[in-house]
């Protein structure tokens, strides 16, 4: 299993890098075709993605809506595509309906092919360092923490079975 690397490449950014054992076209499809995105971009256990609209072109918009199937809580985000370079690069604005941070964020996804594998890097750039740090901080001050705890135990349990 490949591991996920998280870094803070500048004082306004958070970046993640992950390798996938699949050709670039498939990783691209999984990020851009709604019927595929809805299968994996779910967050903590118990959440589904009833809405996933993607209009993949410069100036086009996207919208994601998640729902906690137990208590009905919803969460949503969306934005506009700034750059679309098929199977290589997407730059998009990112805004949550109920933002816990100020200003618009910009997300950049880059796919690089390495043999039969694909390296995915996603970088989110926030309005300022204060905002970036508050995003980092938010994981500790919101109710999200509990969900993360469940996720943690699920993963640990899955790991123990191996």
């Amino acid at each position: 299993m490949s591991t996920l690397k998280i870094t803070t490449p500048s004082d306004r950014e958070i970046a993640m890098t992950r390798e996938f054992n699949a050709p670039r076209q498939l990783v691209w499809d999984a990020h851009t075709k709604p019927e595929l995105v809805r299968k994996w971009l779910l967050g903590p256990p118990g959440w589904s993605m009833p809405v996933c609209n993607i209009d993949l072109r410069v100036g086009g918009s996207y919208r994601y809506e998640w729902r906690n199937d137990k208590d009905g809580t919803t969460m949503a985000m969306g934005g506009t595509y700034k750059e679309v370079k098929p199977i290589e690069r997407i730059v998009q604005t990112e805004k949550f309906d109920d933002p816990w941070y100020e200003g618009a964020a910009t997300g950049t996804m880059v796919l690089k092919e390495q043999g039969s594998k694909t390296i995915l890097t996603t970088t989110v750039r926030y309005a300022s360092q204060a905002v970036r740090d508050s995003v980092i901080k938010s994981g500790m001050t919101t109710g999200v923490e509990q969900s993360f705890d469940r996720l943690e135990s699920t993963i640990l349990a899955a790991g123990a079975k191996r």
Binding site: L4, L26, L41, Q129, D133, L151, E152
Partner: protein
């Protein structure tokens, strides 16, 4: 200091490579300002400034020896900061493990 304000101070303190290097050196035991300044091409006052930032963030503390004031690492605040990153990592790792499985399915399709 409130925990949220402290976390801001921690991340601001960790944003600087010299300060991260100082923390790494302190991980192997307490050291005086002079010892800490040695590997860096910096004056002692410059190092002291970095130490003040780290101290304010609660990442290090001065030792009992007033004369030498050796600094030591305070592991708890650092753990609080890395805890968030670890949780974020696990959340995304959950997503990406689902994506791994999906990609395997897609590869099998003609």
């Amino acid at each position: 200091m409130q925990s949220t304000a402290r976390l801001d101070a921690i991340f601001a303190a960790l944003a600087d490579p010299t300060r991260r290097a100082i923390l790494a050196r302190l991980a192997s035991g307490q050291r005086s300002v002079m010892e800490l300044a040695q590997p860096f091409d910096m004056s002692q006052p410059a190092i002291s400034k970095h130490l003040k930032v780290l101290e304010r963030a609660g990442l290090i503390s001065g030792g009992r020896d007033r004369q030498r004031r050796p600094r030591k690492l305070e592991p708890k605040p650092l753990a609080a900061a890395t805890k968030w990153l670890e949780r974020y990592r696990r959340l995304w790792e959950g997503n990406y493990q689902r994506l791994d499985a999906l990609l395997e399915d897609l590869k099998e399709k003609p």
